[in-house]
């Protein structure tokens, strides 16, 4: 295969309290406030998050609590007001290119065909278009996009667009992938199938994933660890380690363990409800 996938031993069985690895990502004491027309708006209170290598970590929290802002900081696109982000010992503050980042909107460039959107990351790295396309084709086939290579984003359904955006992020091939509400705009059924598809991919590629969502079902279904944020200014209120076994199936959502956890989350969330 032209595309080189780093396979690691499945870590689903590894204890979540495993020793800090050299590939863990540590977010420590990150704060952020914005100035707008002379007024300060604090968006993030000090946030500390550990993202163990190879894990699927989710963040849930009310709208406006600074989740996307935190992602931008991790991706090196926004300087934090204070705090640091490290991989192993190395600070990656302000360094672009360490993470694959999928923004809240699918952000496919409307003037590029799907395949050209997918190879965008490779193209920027300097891989010739022809070769990049060669790398992308088998992936598109595998993940249900074959036949749409030459279509433009506007000609695809929402689910397909999300898939393409996700493939672009994957093909960019960083060790950690940030996904900001990738399925927020999809309807319930499409969302379900996309979640399964994401889990499938994650098991294939086994990258570290940091995931933002509003949907509690989604967070539980996908994650190893869930960080629950408070309302703005956001901080980590709870850290929940999910012990549901993998691989997970849709039917698991109807099990008691699942519903216990959901009830717990819904309880926590209702504190925030009044702030809406």
């Amino acid at each position: 295969m032209a595309y080189d996938i780093k396979r690691l031993p499945s870590e689903a069985s590894v204890d979540h309290d495993h020793e800090a690895s050299l590939h863990d990502i540590k977010i420590s004491g990150i704060t952020k406030s914005f100035y707008n027309n002379g007024e300060m708006r604090q968006v993030l209170r000090p946030v500390d998050i550990l993202i163990p290598h190879g894990k699927f970590v989710s963040i849930i929290g009310p709208s406006g609590c600074g989740k996307s802002t935190l992602f931008n900081i991790v991706a090196g696109l926004l300087p934090p007001t204070s705090g640091d982000i490290t991989i192993g010992e190395k600070s990656i503050l302000g360094e672009k290119g360490y993470v694959g980042y999928m923004l809240q909107k699918d952000m496919l460039l409307p003037w590029r065909t799907i395949i050209d959107n997918i190879i965008l990351g490779l193209e920027i790295k300097g891989v010739p278009k022809r070769e990049a396309r060669k790398q992308a084709l088998p992936l598109m086939e595998k993940y249900g996009l074959s036949g749409f290579e030459k279509n433009y984003p506007c000609e695809l359904s929402g689910g397909m667009r999300q898939r393409a955006a996700l493939l672009r992020t994957l093909l960019y091939d960083r060790e950690i992938i940030l996904l900001d509400e990738p399925f927020g705009a999809l309807d319930a059924q499409t969302r379900q199938s996309m979640q399964n598809w994401l889990l499938e991919i994650w098991e294939d590629f086994h990258k570290t994933v940091l995931f933002v969502t509003h949907d509690m079902d989604e967070a539980i279904y996908l994650s190893d660890i869930i960080y629950v944020f408070s309302g703005r200014p956001g901080y980590v209120k709870e850290k929940i380690t999910v012990h549901l076994k993998r691989p997970r199936k849709q039917e698991d959502m109807l099990e008691t363990d699942f519903w216990d956890l959901k009830q717990h989350l819904m309880g926590g969330m209702s504190d925030e409800k009044r702030s809406v």
Binding site: L77, V99, L103, L109, L120, I124, Y152, C154, Y172
Partner: protein
């Protein structure tokens, strides 16, 4: 209790009805389209007829207003005996030349504003100011700068177009979706990569959208150029006709000019459509 919590009834799809009603709808639409075309022609004919009759019956002063029949006669004479055809050609060429150059120049100028917000902010009022200078007033200087030949008309058409196109491009630049830039930066792109892969394609539809205004401006510029100094062209013809007080000939010039303007306008509209469809230029919402 389990089966009592809800009841389900299943349905089969009924056969699809013949869609005769919809055919009616489509016919109606087609008819409407034809109606519009007919309406346009009718309106034109009505205007001409009213004009002719008014002139003949003396409702309007036919020295100033001439009449469609007289205008047509004069136009034919001009076509056959003088070089109306060449005048049209001359004006069209300088317009198109200036239009192309101005669009290109304006695009480059406007796009350059993406590179530095400070630079952009400093230059903007000067652009506005320059755009507002009545070019006709600069006649003597323009002659010194660009001469009185064909190239001077092109130059004026260019000057009229370039700022308009630049301003449209600047609007486009200001409307580039920042998260697209963010995306590219997150993929480790350099500034020129963001420029080439996001800014330019994102601004293209704005530039395309300004084309239809620009072609009119370019024509106006070419005509001003011919007003200032020229041996050929429709602008010269009109000025000449005005000077020798031949109102019918003025009308010939005016009408040929507006027809030319309209042809160019719709040609540009078609070009815009074609480019949007064939060059993978996306439509802004």
């Amino acid at each position: 209790m389990k089966k009592e919590a809800y009841e389900v009834e299943y349905y089969e799809p009924k056969s699809v009805l013949a869609m005769q009603a919809d055919r009616r709808e489509e016919k109606h639409r087609r008819k409407q389209k034809k109606g519009i075309r007919a309406g346009r022609i009718l309106l034109g004919v009505a205007i001409l007829l009213f004009w002719e009759v008014s002139a003949r019956l003396g409702w309007i002063d036919d020295y100033y207003w001439s009449s469609p029949s007289l205008i047509a006669q004069t136009a034919i004479v001009q076509w056959k005996e003088k070089n109306l055809a060449y005048d049209i050609y001359f004006t069209s060429m300088s317009t198109i030349g200036g239009f192309l150059a101005g669009t290109l120049g304006g695009a480059v100028l406007g796009l350059s504003f993406w590179w530095s917000k400070t630079f952009a902010k400093i230059f903007e009022p000067y652009l506005v100011m320059f755009n507002a200078i009545p070019k006709l007033a600069l006649a003597p200087i323009l002659i010194v700068l660009f001469g009185i030949g064909f190239s001077s008309k092109v130059m004026l058409a260019f000057l009229m177009t370039v700022i308009s196109c630049a301003l449209a491009t600047v609007s486009g630049v200001e409307n580039v979706d920042e998260s697209m830039e963010t995306l590219l930066y997150s993929l480790g792109a350099a500034r020129w990569q963001v420029f080439g892969k996001v800014v330019v394609p994102a601004v293209l539809p704005w530039m395309l959208g300004s084309l239809r205004i620009n072609i009119s401006l370019a024509l106006a510029g070419a005509i001003v150029g011919e007003f200032i100094a020229s041996g050929h062209g429709l602008g010269r013809m009109v000025i000449y006709a005005g000077t020798i007080l031949d109102t019918t000939l003025v009308w010939v010039g005016v009408i040929v000019l507006s027809l030319l303007a309209m042809v160019m306008y719709f040609a540009v509209v078609e070009l815009e459509k074609w480019m949007t469809e064939h060059l993978a230029i996306y439509r802004k919402a």
